[in-house]
């Protein structure tokens, strides 16, 4: 099975019916103003875990906007994902404070441990490894966030332990 995030993935799409229902439910909570586009994308991603093509089409139709326009906005922002992500999200900070204190080594170690590259998901959909510009916890650099819990003063060893506890 190919790895997700490489552009060649063949991950099974979710049931279209489920996507449509969930996306429509989110849409119903917003007015049809263009300025709601980004909040809608955020909310739909929150519910579905990523932004499937069908959901983007529904959003465009709801706002009366052209599909390429909606796709253009969605692809502009780093937050939006277009392929499913793993059940556990590991995010390592690559901010300046973390960089000078060795965060690249942590990324390398995790890449080896999980046998994926930054931005990819393990084939069993268990882990996604990402880097983020800065979490703003620079005083405790290097920083890693595992499923929204922030861990400071990281080392490659400690990062493995955090994952180990979950595994």
């Amino acid at each position: 099975m190919s790895k997700v995030g490489t552009g060649q993935e063949t991950a099974a799409p979710r049931a279209t019916k489920e996507v449509i229902d969930k996306a429509d439910k989110v849409l119903a909570s917003f007015t049809r103003e263009k300025s709601n586009l980004i909040p809608i994308l955020q909310q739909v991603q929150q519910v579905l875990g990523y932004l499937p093509e069908e959901a983007l089409r529904r959003i465009a139709r709801y706002l009366g906007a052209a599909e390429p326009g909606v796709f253009g906005v969605a692809t502009f922002y780093a937050q939006f994902q277009f392929v499913p992500r793993g059940r556990n999200i590991i995010r390592v900070c690559r901010g300046t404070g973390c960089y000078v204190k060795g965060s690249p080594r942590i990324v390398e170690e995790l890449e080896q441990l999980l046998d994926i590259k930054e931005g990819e998901t393990t084939p069993d959909m268990e882990y996604t490894l990402e880097t983020v510009a800065c979490f703003g916890s620079c005083a405790l650099a290097p920083v890693m966030v595992f499923n929204d819990k922030v861990y400071g003063r990281m080392t490659a060893e400690k990062a493995k332990q955090v994952l180990g506890r979950k595994r």
Binding site: Q42, Y77, R94, T96, G97, V100, C134, A139, A141, V150
Partner: protein, 560 residues
């Protein structure tokens, strides 16, 4: 309700907390505290209090700025000054509860500092604490001292008195006071805030907007996060004052999605303001109406640029547009708009509370007041600091920061994020103000200060920033889109041992093109990390290119 009544109620609640018979325990649960393990400390604290049969008021507060010592608590026993304990572990917490809360021994061996000028029991006092001595905490005055989710704590500490005062003044008088204070923008180039407000006030149109730029995107900077988490009302008070002065009826706070706790605290604060009559219709019975909405960013550094931010709020790709027209005349949805960053709004509140003259006492001639910085990197005491402008870098790095970790040699301090530069030893005694930093080739920007030692390679640091900028370039204008890519390619070659003679000149030539040819400040300042490192550390570039050697021993490809 009028302000005096609200204040009276808040003050009596605050007094009750201060004069209570139970000890109070303040615990820092900002993002820094949490990252260091505050959750575990809080749980242990509760458990130990219970098993010792003790009662105490536990207050969760924001960052007090001693981030290096997180997790951190302050214990205030009735009639005694507060004592801070840092670098806590569950077992230290057990000992402190047993010895100081159940007993009378404040454990000077475990204490960090005492909230008292003279100190007690051999514990150093605030006045002698090297971390605080050079600081003047105006914007950060409440951070770590009040519960950020309780508006009464803010009000009891002069909160919203600036707004109450402003609403009794004419809008022009407020702007005049701002001008008199000398406040300059704290997020970018340092434009005088009073003038910015004046342009927007004078712009024709009935619908006007204000925006709070909380898209603190500079890697290595977290001052704004700490303020939003630790004292959101000080920012919001500034916004309401500004809206009244400018004549705006709607405001937006654009916050990075990477700051979930700040967003949550803002939501709580806005709801409380609304309930207390500091927001919404007929604010404090003045007839002034104003509403604030939160907009969550979606991960694009360029959205910190004001025209890009407005495009993003409108629901578009966050790409900058040429100025003029400036936002003051044609901003959000084409209406006059004032954008200031978190710290600038917070300063506006402080100035209206305490007065322009009081504020202008701090700082030097052209740079008035104080500035927050996040002091990080290879210093012993990292943290969130606020200092009078004009202080020297040495006082910050060695005084507050305690010097370099592990006895290593100081190499440079990086200020201004990806738009700034790396300043070498020679600048340690230069004042930190807008003009001096610009003259050195760096920038004030939002206030990230990353200290680097002899193990950091300056070429690699330049490459790091270029990698960031090249990823974040929006692609609209060619000098930025391609210029940053070309410069990055050259830097990648240099750090991997493929540098060629002439690369430095090529970099300088490209930097000039990108600096002068780019549409917005992202591109316009993108070459600064390269330009300053070439200017001050040219020998490191030459060693990489000519000798295929990394003097700092940091570039892997050159280690053999």
């Amino acid at each position: 309700m009028n302000y005096e009544e609200i204040r009276k109620k808040a003050t009596s609640q605050w007094q009750a907390l201060q004069n209570g018979q139970k000890p109070r325990i303040f615990i820092g649960t900002g993002t820094c505290g949490m990252a260091a393990g505050a959750e575990e400390i809080l749980a242990t604290l509760r458990k130990e209090l219970e098993s010792n049969g003790l009662k105490a008021d536990i207050v969760q507060v924001g960052c007090i700025g001693f981030c290096y010592a997180e997790p951190l608590i302050e214990i205030i026993k009735p009639g005694k000054p507060g004592i801070f304990y840092g670098n806590l572990t569950p077992s230290k917490v057990s000992e402190i509860v047993r010895d100081y809360l159940a007993g009378e021994n404040p454990r000077p061996d475990l204490a960090l500092v005492c909230r008292d000028n003279t100190g007690v029991d051999g514990i150093i006092g605030f006045a002698d604490f090297p971390v605080l001595k050079p600081q003047a905490r105006l914007v950060l005055r409440n951070c770590g001292n009040i519960d950020p989710e309780d508006i009464n704590h803010y009000v009891a500490n002069d909160g919203y008195s600036g707004l109450a005062r402003a609403l009794k003044m004419k809008p022009q008088e407020i702007i005049d006071e701002l001008k008199k204070s000398g406040l300059r923008g704290r997020g970018g180039a340092g434009f005088p805030t009073g003038m910015k407000w004046q342009f927007c006030r004078d712009a024709p149109g009935t619908q006007k907007y204000i925006i709070c730029n909380a898209d603190e995107g500079d890697p290595g900077a977290f001052m704004n996060r700490a303020v939003l988490e630790g004292d959101p009302h000080t920012v919001l008070e500034g916004m309401v004052i500004g809206a009244y002065a400018i004549g705006a009826s709607e405001g937006y706070i654009y916050v990075r999605a990477e700051y979930p706790l700040a967003i949550q605290r803002l939501k709580v604060a806005l709801a409380q303001m609304d309930k207390s009559g500091f927001l919404g219709e007929n604010i404090l019975d003045s007839g002034f109406n104003f509403h604030i909405k939160i907009k969550e960013g979606a991960g694009a550094f360029v959205c910190g640029e004001e025209t890009a931010m407005m495009a993003s709020i409108e629901g578009n790709r966050g790409m900058p547009r040429p100025r003029p027209p400036f936002p003051a005349t044609s901003g959000l949805w084409g209406k006059p708009t004032t954008i200031n960053n978190v710290e600038t709004w917070a300063h506006a509140a402080v100035i209206m509370q305490k007065g322009a003259d009081w504020f202008a006492n701090y700082g030097n001639e052209k740079s008035k007041g104080t500035k927050t910085f996040s002091l990080v990197g290879k210093v012993q005491r990292t943290g969130l600091i606020e200092v009078p402008l004009g202080i020297t870098l040495r006082e910050i790095v060695y005084g507050i920061g305690g010097g370099i970790v592990g006895g290593k040699k100081f190499k440079a301090v990086q200020t201004g994020g990806p738009s700034g530069g790396c300043l070498p030893t020679g600048f340690l005694d230069s004042p930190v103000d807008y003009e001096s930093l610009a003259a050195a080739g760096s920038m004030m920007e939002s206030g990230g200060m990353v200290v680097m030692d002899e193990d950091n390679c300056m070429v690699d640091v330049a490459r790091y920033f270029l990698t960031f900028i090249q990823l974040e370039s929006c692609g609209k204008c060619i000098p930025c889109r391609w210029g940053t890519k070309q410069m990055l390619d050259i830097l990648n070659d240099i750090v991997s041992g493929k540098g060629r003679p002439g690369d430095i000149d090529l970099l300088l030539e490209l930097a000039d093109g990108v600096k002068n040819g780019s549409l917005c400040a992202l591109g316009g300042t993108a070459p600064n990390p390269i330009l300053t490192t070439i200017r001050y550390f040219r020998d490191e570039y030459e060693a990489h290119i000519n000798e295929k050697r990394c003097p700092a021993g940091a570039c892997k490809a050159l280690l053999t």
